[in-house]
Amino acid sequence: MLSKSKIFFKGIVAVLPHMLSVIPFGIITGAIGVELGFDPILVYATSLIIFGGASQIIFMQLLSGGASSLVAITSVGVINSRHLLYGAVLSEYLEKLSFIKKLIISYFIVDQGFAESNKYLRQNKNLSNPHYYVLGTGVTLWFCWQLSTISGIILGSFIPEELGLKFAIPLTFLAIIVNDLRKLDHVFVMLVSGFASLILFNAPFKSYIILSPIVALIAAFIMLRFKK
């Protein structure tokens, strides 16, 4: 029987390799926030309150580009709808927790932590305290994320504008989906989303950021019907 702290520690170790991408991503997020003209306190507040790299970057990019709050908030919602899936999968292991503990652990559910927890917990179904594993991954990622965005905010004020750091935004997101490029069905959905965004780019209120994913998800839904 593994003790709680051992399980927690296993969670920490499992996400360590992800730091290779999480830390640079955090630095970029902080630096871009400053580059886009936001107050450093505001940039950091997104790390603490939103705590999700992709949504933080998109949120700041949209607001600095003149989008309304409603569009920025809605697009954050669309991006984060993937968490529903994570929650649904992890809830099997978190069922026995009290409501308060569920509320606390939810804050720490992030992509990399979910991926590792899902992998480990599926192979260790009889673990007595599985939530310590989830917590180990989440808390580790949380600390690294806070520290790396703060470093990015500090670095960002020194990075000259001629470097065009804004180009790091599309590159960062490309890096996030690059592993899915080997799956043809995913590539199809990506192309639908990408071309939709080019066509819809000048639609009012920057709504392309919400409409393109919706178009692509409808395409995914239709594709799934044909696959069967």
Partner: protein, 105 residues
């Protein structure tokens, strides 16, 4: 106003994490919905990538010779073969900088 948006976005994000864990029975999400949710990253991120590469700061399509396009192609190829997040970003930025600082000067 920005503070307000950050806080509401934070609540929305937190809700997306918490809903299935604490509020909703997971059986509520049918297999169909789960299958479609799998594609959320593929549906969301290209809508940021494509405009970031193919539009300039003024909202116009860039020319086919734009350095961003070549930076993105390098990043795509490097990323595909290396499967590394850092290699993807760094190769894209370096090739972009190489073009704007050496080739275009």
């Amino acid at each position: 106003m920005t503070w307000f948006s950050i806080i509401v976005s934070g609540i929305v994000t937190y809700f997306s994490r918490m809903a299935m864990v604490a509020l909703i029975d997971r059986e509520m999400l049918g297999t169909k919905v789960k299958e479609v949710l799998n594609y959320v990253p593929a549906a969301v991120f290209p809508a940021i990538i494509f405009p970031g590469v193919f539009f300039n700061d003024f909202g116009f399509l860039v020319e086919i010779t734009d350095p961003k396009i070549y930076g993105a192609i390098v990043a795509l190829v490097v990323g595909f073969y290396s499967r590394s997040v850092i290699a993807t970003i760094v190769s894209g930025l370096l090739s972009y900088w190489f073009i704007i600082f050496f080739l275009l000067r």
